[in-house]
Symmetry: C2
Subunit: 344 residues, 2 copies
């Protein structure tokens, strides 16, 4: 199924639709975004969600399904649209619900954070945390439409913009068109403005969708390249509770380092890309060095990675240059050595 | 994806497979079926399940996922096979789990009751009960293989055989090949033997799969004909707690009655098919008449049906003759009138 991407300057009118439109929204939005509460009234029913990882639970699933049925509305598979209005956790949770509710109702993703607008709203991954394991249940369920609504992004704090730059830089490393778009939009060594990021967004989404469409169900492995920077990123995220986008930014520095150490990235290119991460994306090279963990902690967390091949190895995403990712099966011990050198 | 159907006289050897094979089984089977416990040892890991509707819960989902992760095994999407060994509830629950675990691992259905062997193990429907609503979450996830293993069926009580005859009779009404197979295998007015049912099984499964393959995701409505007998069946099942197969048998009598009342089934054919339900399938015409419920109860339960079209109407499956189902949109009041006449 093809996802339609739509961009709106203001809150759009809901098209005439004979079915039932249900909005699921991050409870912080009405306070944060002027005009949102009024827009919410256009839906047939609205469900407030406590955004964050703890939302993605079977407890919330029970609560929300109960709320739907006690609404008095009647639901049918063909005549129901679920709108996921929020960041990554709302998209993951509502996506999972939509993909399984009555065995699948229509899903529209309305990302409200830079990170979800760039990444999680696209590509159809949904997720639930069960028995303490993150994203262990999920489905591939692309939204029928993704709506990018500008008012949501005007009201983001600078910190949230910085969190998004890790994913943006990742796509610029993976895709030459994103790299070129970033260069033409943004002057090196300046901070990214909201307007610049808003203009860069389409190229990032298109680049992600080019990868996803080659391997929508993650069967062939093409899609794995999107994990560039995520191997160390996930480790730092779970150990130091830092935001995903920042952790990925740190992970990108490490991915460049491993690419150089393993001989796939020439020294000249390594230094050039390393500098670009700092100058063009504000991804500090010094910060990740401060987030150290013991070799044993690092080993334990690395082996939790989904890309573990067999005991002791994992599939690492390295790059040969911009737009040229490569999958390297690497021993965890080798990665731990690289990590120790990276930190010294 | 095409499901492979395999029949075995005895417990089959598990083919050499480099991945991880997990058996999920009805806890009653080791006691009931000689040789089963020994077979279970061939799997890499076995999870015992308390079969029944209450299994299909998020509570059990949490418990089972927790058990998987504390097993010490490591799971990957490509290298894991989940075997659902049991009746309908085990198939629904393990099917749901397999379809969402790591976003989908391989599923093999090993039905151990006649009803699941005829019906629920095929066609890919999985289900979970959430917030008190039956089957409200689910997926379409066909098994890669369905294994019919004779020892499971040799140890079924006569009552369980009778429960299956409702679904068998339904398929004989929907499909001329099943009707002919039944006629050639079984003498009218005698009880079905285990051996006869075992021989009839393939034709029933093939008939169901012909319908499913025309409409695997229940998009076009073809698949709805499989609900013949289920409109009243589900009402009786939930009101009187009688087994699904029996309730469907009673529902078939009512479906014939409505087909006649609505003028789609000629009188001669109505009496002929009515007689066949009793003589060929042992589906008593008198029994359903005793299971009466008030008009208001019946209305409330009918409107819970998934085939409700809009307030006051539902899609009823009638037949014009053997192999000729027809979908009739009928007012609930008309159905309630027909029900009162049916009972007098």
């Amino acid at each position: 199924m093809k996802t339609r991407l739509a961009r709106f300057k203001t809150f759009p009118a809901l098209s005439s639709h004979s079915g039932l439109r249900v909005a699921f929204y991050d409870s912080k939005l009405p306070q944060l975004v002027p005009g949102f509460s009024k827009w919410l009234r256009a839906f047939d029913f609205a469900v407030e969600l406590p955004a964050g990882e703890s939302l993605k639970s079977t407890r919330e699933l029970e609560r929300v399904v109960g709320q739907l049925f006690s609404s008095g509305h009647s639901f049918s598979r063909d005549g129901t649209q679920f709108f996921a209005i929020g960041g990554g956790s709302v998209g993951d949770f509502v996506g999972f619900l939509a993909s399984t509710f009555l065995r699948g109702v229509e899903l529209l993703q309305v990302p409200t954070t830079w990170l979800s607008a760039m990444d999680s709203a696209h590509g159809g991954k949904t997720a639930l945390n069960v028995a303490g394991t993150k994203n262990v249940l999920g489905t591939f369920y692309p939204a029928s439409e993704v709506w990018l609504i500008e008012p949501f992004f005007k009201h983001q704090s600078g910190a949230r913009v910085n969190e998004a730059l890790g994913e943006a830089a990742k796509m610029a490393l993976l895709d030459t068109r994103v790299a070129r778009a970033a260069q033409s939009l943004h002057a090196s060594e300046s901070e990214w403005t909201l307007a610049e990021l808003w203009k860069l967004l389409p190229s990032i989404i298109e680049a992600k969708m080019r990868v996803v469409n080659r391997d929508p169900f993650e069967k062939r492995g093409d899609r794995r390249v999107l994990n560039l920077g995520h191997t160390l990123g996930h480790v730092l995220e779970s150990r130091f509770k830092i935001p995903h986008g920042l952790a990925v930014g740190y992970g990108l520095h490490f991915a460049l380092w491993v690419s150089w150490c393993e001989g796939v990235l020439p020294a000249k290119k390594f230094f050039e890309l390393e500098r670009s991460l700092s100058r063009d994306w504000g991804l500090d090279i010094e910060a990740p060095r401060k987030l150290k963990l013991s070799r044993e902690d690092a080993r334990r967390l690395l082996l939790r990675d989904k890309k573990v091949l067999s005991a002791g190895s994992l599939q690492f995403i390295a790059i040969r240059g911009v737009g040229r990712p490569v999958q390297l099966p690497l021993k965890v011990d080798l990665l731990l050595d690289a990590l120790e050198e990276f930190w010294t």
